[in-house]
Assembly symmetry: D2
Amino acid sequence: MTQKSMPIVDFRSDNTGRASPALIAKLAEVNEGTAAGYGTDEWTALLQKRYSDIFETAVRVFPVSTGTAANALSLGAVAPSHGAIYCTEPAHISSSEANAAGFFSGGGRLTPVASTHAKMAPEALLATIGSIVLGNAHYSQPAALSITQANEMGTVHSLAEIRALTDIARRFKMKVHMDGARFANALVRLGCTPAEMTWKSGVDILSFGSTKNGGLLADAIVVFVPEIADLLAFHLQRGGQVWSKGRFGAAQLLAYVENDLWLANARAANAAGARIAAGLRGIPGAKLLAPIEANMVFLDLPGSVMDGLERDGIRFFRRTKSMARFVCRFDVTDAEVDALLASLKRHCGAVATAAQ
Amino acid sequence: MTQKSMPIVDFRSDNTGRASPALIAKLAEVNEGTAAGYGTDEWTALLQKRYSDIFETAVRVFPVSTGTAANALSLGAVAPSHGAIYCTEPAHISSSEANAAGFFSGGGRLTPVASTHAKMAPEALLATIGSIVLGNAHYSQPAALSITQANEMGTVHSLAEIRALTDIARRFKMKVHMDGARFANALVRLGCTPAEMTWKSGVDILSFGSTKNGGLLADAIVVFVPEIADLLAFHLQRGGQVWSKGRFGAAQLLAYVENDLWLANARAANAAGARIAAGLRGIPGAKLLAPIEANMVFLDLPGSVMDGLERDGIRFFRRTKSMARFVCRFDVTDAEVDALLASLKRHCGAVATAAQ
Amino acid sequence: MTQKSMPIVDFRSDNTGRASPALIAKLAEVNEGTAAGYGTDEWTALLQKRYSDIFETAVRVFPVSTGTAANALSLGAVAPSHGAIYCTEPAHISSSEANAAGFFSGGGRLTPVASTHAKMAPEALLATIGSIVLGNAHYSQPAALSITQANEMGTVHSLAEIRALTDIARRFKMKVHMDGARFANALVRLGCTPAEMTWKSGVDILSFGSTKNGGLLADAIVVFVPEIADLLAFHLQRGGQVWSKGRFGAAQLLAYVENDLWLANARAANAAGARIAAGLRGIPGAKLLAPIEANMVFLDLPGSVMDGLERDGIRFFRRTKSMARFVCRFDVTDAEVDALLASLKRHCGAVATAAQ
Amino acid sequence: MTQKSMPIVDFRSDNTGRASPALIAKLAEVNEGTAAGYGTDEWTALLQKRYSDIFETAVRVFPVSTGTAANALSLGAVAPSHGAIYCTEPAHISSSEANAAGFFSGGGRLTPVASTHAKMAPEALLATIGSIVLGNAHYSQPAALSITQANEMGTVHSLAEIRALTDIARRFKMKVHMDGARFANALVRLGCTPAEMTWKSGVDILSFGSTKNGGLLADAIVVFVPEIADLLAFHLQRGGQVWSKGRFGAAQLLAYVENDLWLANARAANAAGARIAAGLRGIPGAKLLAPIEANMVFLDLPGSVMDGLERDGIRFFRRTKSMARFVCRFDVTDAEVDALLASLKRHCGAVATAAQ
């Protein structure tokens, strides 16, 4: 069998997947007549209402083009240039966004807090804050806490874990940002409401991701604090993040939640994650580096096994020499999962045999 | 006839219009299988090739979400924080983009140059540059020249006019940016090639607008100088302007030029402008504030006439007490144009009668 | 008489002059024993008290190294990146500080307001604010008003003139900054109190200049609003403007006001200005471009007269081809003034003769 | 004996000390006649020449007001907003300068590299660089390496150690910054030339500190690469760091090196460090946390010993619960050193006795 004719088995990322066709259909649907520009159209107004229903409180929703924009502009609206933004080392804002948070906050400092499976422990946060002198201008001052949910190692904070962190933030007068690039994956994992996972747990501003979960060209910033929203509106314009044809931004985010599409997509992706988890129990050589709680799988694998997977046409991300990451798209198929498991089993078995 | 049942007559802006359906169809078309993220997909590669053909040189094309992003990130890539960016007073970057250019250049200064019909005269540019001391650190130093084509008063620079300005820029070692929010409208007006209107006339970097001309959710930055492109790639990531599902950004910009769609759209919009121009000859009271060379019409009108137009359900932009702006969408209808002309004729006539 | 042996006749600027020796003596005086760093020393504490007495209210005083730092950091503390800072065209912050205000405010926009003799008329300010749409994110939003006192054309705002401008600022929720590079010159001109010229007239934050009036290496920011001061303290540290050996910053600013030295210096400089004004009455060819109200003289002079002055060894600033600026240092001598007047008389007379 | 009458025993920092009187005398000396402004005076010109002699190459010297300004503006001139600046965790730019480097570089990222005694090992630097993907815009790209000499734990890099680090920087096209807040202390320790410790070892730009070594109100940036200097000149003006009365900035830096004053001061401070080192050999309970190679001493001490020192009137910095820092000023006396050693001996002895 040649590489060419092989079916796709793609676990590189959830952003390699398709968009849910409903989003594109919605673009066609709203493409009638004229509409006022820059977010003053009726669909953007509807978006405010719809998301306020979902979050059970009056929220302000700002469509933006990317998750990096959502994160960096959120943080720029709550952290001053002399501020510290506490996050974990693997946090996407720290590891993968090219200084965007520093740029949009005018120099604000990402301050890494020790973590396990990309979860910050409250004591670690306290210790990091404790290493500076509050109010002393030599030190970056506590400004914001950023929590990723589900996080970069694929684990999901419980509501109690979120609350423990946000309580500390509150104590030091910090604002709380949630990077929800995989918000829906976490939501269906916890089985709680969007409100419970955000403002009821102390979150002030949310990067509401859709892209990785069947989205197209828009994510959103959802703001729970009116004053932050007022400022953000100016920052977004100045940041080149306000579509003049705003109806097409809003349309995507409306279609995304219509008929619970977002939850269905997330359930599908998480189910694939669970299917991998189940399959891995029979492959002792594939060592999990973090529990599988959403749609991501991190394995400690020998280089030879990774080579073998690649030869088999399995696509994934070789994060380090011994760490492989597999992400389940919302539209990943059982066949892909099974192909991955079969390939893993074969190559891990070969390693075990050779070691005997 | 009630307002409700009236057909739409909308001249507010060209961004109130629809997207060309072909763009949405293209999104559906590329929505198959998986694709590598962040602009490493095959459609983004094709985009480079396709636009290099159009511009008759190897260009770098970066899809971005908005025209403000295109302008501000272009200027931020060529102007340092102590630099002066020369533009006209009505330039969109100066009048309408919320300090975005200053933000993305770290403080770079928009320096207004006197203009007629939003066209800068070479002597005016020279005089403005001449008011500072070159190399003296007290003064913002010449960094960039920004020309809007077609410009904010709806007039179009001839190639000779562009060249006269870019020659001065070159003499002072400035980079030249073109704000092409209405690039296609200018192109079909001049009947020249994209290459002639840009790099062959001294332009280094172009905000290539599609939104106002049937686009959907993407404009582009087209770069003619490789070193600027290399820097810009980092700036865009840090600026939150790199879609992870890059194929959907590229797809729009591919569909936009396929079968010369962009030129057809621009011709339609300009034709409507010309139809208004012809009609205005019979309405002496409607005084043109600038020649109609593309799809925009600026009229000096009494407040009572503007009130009358609004009562008739005509939508337009009351820019000042006496200045009304009418913009022709690519999908504006002859019926809309005729309704506008009829309403203008009636209300201007009433004014003339009253004045006798 | 050769140029070499000529006595100095220097009207280039008031920053070409000496420092008052008392300031240097004070440095020596405080140079005993050890002192806590970064503004936590006893002299900085004394400075707060002393200036609070002078301003008849509890002020916060921050020594900074330059007037540009005082201005730009003041504005950066009150204007956000999407804000407009209203000032006159000739304002030093606009004409001479290399985009510092834009840099420190993260992109904030200097917005020129029409002026006469570098004084803004209230109607001009209103008209400029009126040209944007309040609350509409496309436009730089009113954030700060900056008034220079005495201003860049050497004229002095009356208290009523200041109040008329600050009332407008207040109406639009702007903060008011005063650039007091020549604060003392204005103060002795008006014969009012520092309190009257600042917070009692609606000023929130003051660049308190000493350098041009016998100062050495420090100016100060004087803040009348506690919340601004709290923020500024962080901005200054982050801006590299907090001397670790703070006592030497404070010492200069203490000596500057001791025994009313600052007022004496300003009176001397203004007296020289008045002496020039009196002398000019006998020189019809030297046309004043603004009334002489402090220590600066602007003359409309033919190039040949300027050449003549230079040949006579008179130093001054050729601002344009026909505008010459003469600034009186606190330590300028009557001999210098008389030499200037004699030279002016001679060369203007020659022009008049030639014209007959 | 009451606290009041106790002689000062002050090891808090070297910035609590006096200025060398020669610097103040120099201010008085240059305070004659008039001088051109903003660094165009004769003393600033002389400064260029004098420092070029000292560094054995044509350098550009820019007086600035603080070490933070020197560091942050140096880094801002070599690191773009998407750049990574590699430094150690305890580096002053990272631990104590309130995000100044991030602010002046528009978001540039301080990236900590593991260190021992605040010295980075070449392998640690390589490993940190190796954790990102070069040229991939998601990651902060290598832009600058910052080495502190003498460093924040009081140790001094050998020339070979500097070279090993700068060789790596060169390989990744980074610029090299040296934070020389205690440059002279390192210089006399190594017994090498200023040239050897800087450009001959691969340094591009130097924060040349004087404040901590008998300076007054100025440090300097010394630039070895002309293009960086050209850019920096603009950045400094825009940064509010160009004194209009430039002669007084230059004068301090001239006096600082006249008759090798700087070296004499550094030798005195280091000698006090050595005297402490010798004395500590007889105090087993006072555990050194880093070798004493310049004028700083870090001890691991029980809280009770720190309390005892404070009761004895010894001033020092309690950096953590168990880490005490003692810094020797250039003007520290043998009596102070002996008082410290005596107090340490007494309180450590008490702890030892209690433990038996």
